[in-house]
Symmetry: C2
Subunit: 422 residues, 2 copies
């Protein structure tokens, strides 16, 4: 026994482990400007390397006679504390943390709040909707009806016509790519007026951290029945999903659907989510503000340097963490992305942003803000983007930007080692 040495094809798994560690060392230094990613904190990362990664956990009510899977008893309270923190940030009575991803939350929500054969309204991809929603609905026997708009935005006034036939169980607001969020209040008013039996759900995956921080308006206070999404984009958590509601009935429907569609809820990652929530909670408003401030600062600096930045300049270009920058052509886009990647600045190229033709940088300020970037770091970062249009960057570019960072919104590794890893 013992799995040392090479496999039959001459691959040594240990060498691959070393390659991952080497790549991870470079990744730790890198600056990620991807709006759909964030960097989980060292504290929140702890459970992922623990034995709880290997375990199931079902006893969400802490029933002393229901420890069918042993071991979770000792730390079950951490999941409960995390749920409380999430509920506080979402101003919601109920928080379902069992979805294992944003798409898992989407599947559970669709199953819970609409019936096979019914119609579900979601947002046209050209107006910011998620690429998968309509096809997913079709695969699950729902009719998909798309809410469009103009200029890449949702036109809330069109919703009334879509609801008029009376066959819509659910309006699923799946806008992801956006520098302005839809008007949830207007949509809710239309639903209540035209089709009061229809449920309104907001998939806030991209701007979840901004909702928690009070920077984007909370869908529940606007009349939505529920909202949720993935927890690793503007919210700096693990790859999980959450769903919030204030309704007993919706909560019960979500629990029932989740029971049918999910077994393990990935216990270690739920613990990671709890730690991430508790760690960021008292700073969430500041984090959300700083994230949008940084996005606007980056947008302004790039526009001043001659980049074509999407959005209304007089309104700061963006209300979210996203900044869209149009590039001349694909060759230039790859050259820019490659020059940035060469020194450890990672950007997202996007050719199908809603309402804006051509290839774009889809930038996100969320991760660097979580890591401590403030005005000085963002200015230097913008300089790097400007320079990379023309030529290769100096290898020290990222170090220079990082030197301008303030304290992060999490407990750094050194403090963690001192206080936790005793």
């Amino acid at each position: 026994m013992g799995a040392s040495g090479k496999t039959s094809l001459g691959v040594d798994p240990l060498m691959l482990g070393r390659a991952i560690i080497d790549a991870d060392r470079r990744a730790a230094h890198a600056l990620n400007l991807v709006p759909s990613e964030n960097r989980i904190s060292p504290l929140a990362s702890l459970p992922l390397g623990s034995d709880f990664y290997n375990r199931y956990f079902f006893n969400t009510d802490g029933d002393p006679l229901f420890w069918e899977f042993r071991g979770g008893e000792e730390i079950a309270h951490i999941e409960a504390l995390g749920i409380d923190a999430l509920r506080r940030m979402a101003s919601a009575r109920y928080c379902n943390v069992r979805p294992i991803s944003g798409m898992s939350a989407m599947i559970i929500t669709v199953a819970a709040l609409s019936r096979p054969g019914s119609t579900v309204v979601s947002v046209d991809q050209n107006s910011g909707g998620h690429y998968a929603t309509s096809a997913l609905l079709g695969r699950f026997g729902r009719e998909s009806r798309l809410l469009g708009g103009g200029g890449g935005r949702v036109d809330e006034s069109r919703l009334a016509d879509l609801l008029a036939p009376g066959d819509v169980d659910l309006v699923y607001v799946d806008v992801q790519n956006c520098v302005r969020t839809p008007d949830f209040r207007a949509m809710s008013a239309v639903v209540k007026d035209v089709s009061p039996g229809t449920r309104l759900y907001v998939d806030a995956s991209h701007y979840l951290g901004l909702v928690f921080g009070g920077h984007v308006v909370n869908p529940l206070t606007c009349g939505a029945d529920a909202f949720g999404g993935s927890t690793h984009k503007s919210f700096p958590g693990p790859h999980k999903g959450v769903i919030f509601t204030n309704s007993d009935d919706v909560d019960e429907k979500l629990r029932a659907a989740q029971f049918d569609l999910l077994s393990s809820h990935h216990f270690a990652e739920t613990l990671a989510l709890a730690l991430a929530a508790l760690e960021v909670e008292q700073h969430i408003g500041e984090y959300a503000r700083a994230t949008n401030d940084n996005a606007r600062r980056l947008a302004r600096a790039l526009a001043d340097a001659g980049f074509r930045v999407h959005g209304d300049s007089s309104a700061g270009y963006t209300d979210t963490h996203q900044v869209w920058v149009e590039l001349d052509n694909t060759a230039d886009a790859y050259a820019l992305s490659n020059r940035l990647a060469d020194v450890g600045i990672r950007v997202n190229l996007h050719s199908t942003l809603p309402g804006v033709p051509g290839v774009h940088l889809r930038l996100g300020s969320n991760e660097v803000t979580f890591e401590g970037a403030g005005p000085r770091a963002i200015e230097r970062l913008a300089d790097a983007l400007v320079t990379a249009r023309e030529r290769a960057l100096e290898p020290r570019t990222v170090s220079e930007i990082r030197r301008r960072f303030g304290a992060p919104f999490y407990t750094d590794s050194e403090k963690l080692t001192g206080e936790v890893r005793l």
Copy 2:
């Protein structure tokens, strides 16, 4: 900024991190006899704590012009090598590693291989089927038709009647709780005879490692169109899902469904799966044999000591990693489970095992076998179970059992530290 100190409700996240580390220390020592769990190896666990946990990865074909998400370039080959190892173990042309759990693989398979409005045959829970399948099918607009049996087993001969109406797109063999696997060859013959357009899929979540090791017959060689499942039960990998097929058409359908139903495939966990596969590949036959040998040895020892062990004693009680032990009543069951848990032996109580009324221990030999348990350790483990029926166990029980372990089927932490964490 900086997230030190307590939250508004007086909870210190650092204290919770410490609690997780403390619990993890106890968990590392524990013996887990849960058939649906395994312990990922230290090598395979490496990516989970890395920055790749935070990242998306879409460029499965390695297109040099498609690095929309940067950073994955350096280690993309590891995913590819892992897929090759999985394909070799499954003797399959195609391996889809994008599902993020066993249920995710189930959802993708149902969506890929059946249409809304069609009928899907799965296995009655009383014959070993998964608790969720039938309800899941209903939520996705499929008609659910259940294949039953007698005495907790599938009766393959009943399949012809279920297929006769001609409306079945898919037979989904979701047997999980079993000491004998169904006769895939017989089922395939019926499908080909009665309804050749129907697809046959085997959800091998529980016995995946035993199929890989050649101990349970490979569904593809029996005529199934595809098989797959979760990767953390008898196969000692992370919480992910895989689907195998030899059919171009089925592979294409799975890819299309996966694209619509999944976004991130959890990159770090896919790397973990790759490392787990490459690490265990050359020992997979030995691991599978030892797992069943240990299950039979445990079953025999418990039966000899007066426990009522399910199964045919003349055939070794079990062909899988599972051993079912009937207990007198719930109070006794909890007392036994608690006494074992007190010293770090973790067992699963189950009240709905197919075909066997009453409360049972559902034991699995998979994890302790992966950790190195051989005959001597299993005998000592059986002694502990026997003793715990009557009285509390000595605190040193687990150490005594572990002292009898041989080498594990993975690179242990010390060697890993020496060779990888340079």
